[in-house]
Chain length 628, copies 2
């Protein structure tokens, strides 16, 4: 089994250490408190009675499971007996509640005991199982204790007896909310039991085949489906024929993760090609500059190509997290930097905007422009970050992403180490049976200089591939003080240095980070005539707090200069971009609603902060795409 | 009783004669067919039985009533025995169905017979009654026959016994959907029975007082209200303290009409001031350039000040019609051109866009930008015009507006005639006991020259006030060939000519109509950096059919010239505006979604057509506010 990397990467400072600490000290405890206070953990004891408050909901188990996974990841880095006890108690609860067959679902065991597996389309049964499996794998990796994994193996074994080809007398169905596909591949990695890989492959393969299972299911059990469009569930056609990202965005990317996992494990080229088609469709037509996806409020879905409204963006935090998961798998399939570019975009921007800087408040929806006075077509308004949601998938999801972020920093195989992301860190990677230690020193993402020091007990001949991010126009790399010819060594977004590495080897990477004005494809009608400011991996935004109200009355001047300043007081410390701009002068306009007179513009100062920091001060206007 | 003007103005050609003919020949017959086919007229016979199709709905009577009113207006101008018979049959149906007390409502008599007057908030009972009253008044004015009016007097008398102060043992309630207030004032005008004016005043006065009737009603009858926010119904505070237009837009403007009517009839200054506050709030903060109002899809409501999204505009056809009604009453209160400016804006643009050029298809929602590939936050998409709607208030509403448009062209009192609107027409107005005939000759709205010829059997000393529209920067007026000093004769948007008028007097008005680039208040964030093209009273728009797709990739050039051309083949004949512009070149962009490269723009030709004509060809993109 390949070494898991999320615990090999030790952050020693900087951006990600801070996030890791916030996550451990604030987000994980605060999520636990919510799980307790809202009755989610109590519900798992299967003691709820009709008429009591906190009636179990069909996705509650998944909230708890994601928290358990996050907590397990966190424990690995920083032991914490209280936290460990909290997880162990839940494991005991699940053990006690698991049926003799292996089934466990706190909703169905209490609320609809006679309807198990009857509403796969809506009721998240396999989804909850998948999240519990992921948690069990993480817990085993952290503690080495198999108890939770055994419980979930028993559950997976039971599911394997229930689901499969109809010819074998099994249910030929699949989850309405994908997740178990990727979880079963993790179970396979953790146990080496091929059955789990095959079950995952079954769920992938059967999806969207004719006759459609969801329709059969509705007929058989007489349910009027809550949502009838099959493409909402990516169940409109078999997955290998899907080439457009459609339907519920989180469901979609979780499915694509499972597809990519199965493609990788089974060398399924056709499936891999479908993943590539879906990937291209997302990143070329359906992704926000923040790495957010699923632009449409209605059903939390992908919209049509280039339909990327800013103020009306849905852009669920979980969808951006899911896109990072999918990107990671696409990287594993193809070892190309373009996938890491999207992963980096998502985790620094569209996913991180979903959590407050202090780790205790969240956005479910991540608009790219916010006008609190505006009313969306569905009557929604932008509001400050709450501490929790009725449907609270995002808070524990961002917690597990952050607790396991280290896994994305490196990859390796027998001959090559890929250095994907940059942060102060020390990482041990087993290469040819001994350990190479890579120590990064950097101020990334605030500065593009990265020093990588290599230590190895013995000289090792291998390639180390350093990622040159897609946002970087001209990188320079020095090996032990001497310039490397980046162009000739470049492939697919990485500079490959193949040599016999010895202790003390030093690589100095310089990724210049000027402020860039980014334009969108002219087919994105919402962004025509506008630019977004980026610097390095970060997308910037303008907040009312810094720039006053009426942000859309502001326009950048041509050939404007940008001033950079690290402000240690602001928003936990960040590089701020300042510039001169023009603003339509409200005072000289008067109170007419419409007029032929040309509006007077006056110079103004403009200050941009990283988008992931927005909504952490007094709640007000925010805008990424500014008029030019 | 003051002479009604809608039948005194005979259109003799041009824009409004064409609309009148389309309305008579296509819209009114087609609406009738829909009323029959959908079961609305059948429902009024009170013979519907459980299990049958076309279950009567609580607002169906109003659809029929509005059609009857439109048909009655039309009959007055052009007798039509078939049409008259259709109306008479419905009157007979209502007569047969009316209870001995005087009650008639096809929904409550059949579907909820025990719940009469129990759900005033939602069930449109008084609203339907109001529309039937308006129809009865129109029918009496056209035919001189009192039968329908008598039926409705009996109904109104009955309502008067039911509603009133609690101290008198009556229901202290008021309609959830306003309408009866203005209808009762029409009944008062038609009958001179002051009781109807007092009942209208009661409904106006009691609205929003404490304790809130809608809340009492819900408690009393145990209904869980469908919509709980009292400001949705303008019932959050007494009407004299209302200063912001809120809630359901059609409800709101119908109420404001009733308020203005009562203010006018009772010289209620405080009520008149509230009307003025509400008016100013609408036209300075909540009205589209098209004269559309109610920007918010959710609940068909007014949004906050300056929240006027274009693509996501709701802008119901009925709301724009209602704004015209309100404008007419504000004019009657204040005799100022600014009110006629809004009326003209609404009836030429935001209301007229709601009906196809051939009079047979409709828009309920009137966006100011349309991208058929876009999905709104509520999952709605822009679609071609249907022939009818489940909730079909708009089609008969536009029919009655058009059948009675003549009434807005003039107003008069003992000393002055106001000439408000311009179209080929002949109009007789009784002034000081004899008749003045005003004959207008013009190509308005395509051309700003208007000739007004005066005929009078005897010389008459009076003022004639000619409206100089708000869109006109410098009007010139000749009286019998000699220039009038417009400035010194101008007051409140009119040029007043006071003299002894004799037959053959001739006034030539010139209202120059250059293309204007209109800007919006910078607080309207959706329009910043954009302009709308207008010419005379018409707002123009760009359609995909003329300009290709990706309209938002187009921007006007500074100091661009506009070419005007009357195209008799296009859209029933209209003045088209052509200009040169720039468009972001998709071909040179490639397929990246985001890039730092400056997009290449290329020259393009641009063609604008009047907004009211949009959506009459192949359905595609449309945009009013173009980037500058």
């Amino acid at each position: 089994m390949k070494q898991s990397l999320h615990d090999s990467v030790k952050f020693t400072g900087g951006f990600w250490l801070h996030l890791e600490e916030i996550n451990r000290n604030r987000t994980i405890p605060m999520n636990y408190k919510q799980l307790v206070d809202t009755g989610r953990i109590k519900a798992m004891k299967l003691e709820w009675k009709e008429g009591e408050p906190d009636c179990p909901h069909h996705f509650w188990d998944s909230d708890v499971a994601k928290w358990m996974e996050a907590a397990a990841f966190s424990l690995k880095k920083t032991p914490d007996s209280t936290l460990e006890k909290q997880i162990d108690e839940i494991i005991d609860i699940i053990e006690r509640g698991q049926t003799s067959e292996g089934y466990y679902n706190s909703y169905f065991l209490q609320i609809e005991p006679t309807r198990r597996w009857q509403d796969l389309r809506i009721k998240h049964e396999l989804y909850c199982a998948g999240h519990l499996m992921e948690a069990a794998v993480a817990y085993m990796e952290t503690t080495g204790r198999r108890k939770f994994l055994d419980i979930m193996c028993k559950y997976a074994d039971y599911i394997d007896t229930v689901f499969g080809p109809e010819a074998e007398g099994k249910i030929p169905g699949y989850p309405g909310h994908e997740e178990i596909e990727l979880a079963l591949v993790k179970m396979y990695h953790a146990t080496n039991n091929q059955k789990y890989l095959l079950l995952s492959k079954f769920f992938v393969d059967v999806r969207g085949t004719e006759p459609n299972y969801f329709e059969l299911e509705s007929q058989k059990y007489g349910y009027k489906p809550v949502w009838t469009e099959l493409n909402y569930f990516q169940a409109h056609t078999p997955v290998r024929t899907q080439d457009e990202a459609v339907g519920h965005a989180v469901r979609a990317v979780y499915l694509y993760c499972g597809m990519a996992d199965v493609a990788l494990e089974t060398d399924d080229e056709k499936l891999g090609e479908a993943c590539k088609e879906l990937w291209d469709n997302i990143v070329k037509k359906k992704m926000y500059i923040t790495g957010a996806i699923g632009s449409c409020y209605h059903g939390e879905t992908f919209s049509n190509a280039y339909d990327l409204p800013n103020e009306e963006a849905y852009a669920e935090t979980c969808a951006s997290i899911g896109l990072a998961f999918f990107a990671h798998r696409m990287f594993q399939l193809h070892k190309k930097g373009e996938y890491m570019d999207v992963l980096e975009r998502a985790i620094y921007n569209g996913a991180s905007s979903g959590i407050s800087l202090d780790g205790t408040r969240f956005f479910y929806v991540n608009p790219l422009a916010c006008y609190p006075d505006g009313t969306l077509a569905n009557g929604q308004k932008h509001t400050p970050r709450p501490e929790w949601f009725t449907c609270s998938c995002c808070p524990p999801n961002i917690a597990r992403l952050r607790a396991s972020a280290g896994q994305y920093f490196y990859d390796y195989n027998d001959t090559t180490i890929w250095v994907n992301l940059y942060n102060d860190s020390v990482t041990d990677i087993k290469m040819q049976d001994h350990c190479i230690t890579l120590t990064q020193t950097t101020d990334y993402p605030w500065d593009g200089k990265v020093n990588v020091n290599i230590q190895s007990a013995r000289p090792v001949e291998c390639g180390i591939a350093f990622r040159v991010p897609g946002w970087c126009r001209e990188a320079s790399i020095k090996l032990n003080g001497t310039d490397i010819d980046c162009k000739s060594s470049a492939k697919d977004g990485y500079v490959y240095i193949k040599r016999t590495w010895t202790s003390g080897d030093n690589v100095e990477i310089t990724l210049p980070m000027p402020v860039e004005l980014i334009h969108a494809n002219p087919k994105v009608r919402h962004d025509c005539g506008r630019v977004a400011l980026t610097r390095g991996p970060l997308v910037y935004c303008f907040e009312q707090q810094d720039n006053g109200a009426d942000l859309n009355a502001v326009s950048l001047m041509p050939d404007t200069d940008f001033k950079l300043e690290y402000d240690s007081e602001l928003l936990n410390g960040c590089v701020v971009i300042s510039t001169e701009a023009m603003k339509i002068d409200q005072n000289s306009w008067g109170d007419e609603l419409y007029s032929p007179k040309e509006p007077v513009t006056v110079p103004c100062k403009l200050k941009a902060v990283p988008y992931f920091c927005w909504g952490n001060r007094k709640f007000g206007e925010m805008q990424i795409w500014i008029r030019q």
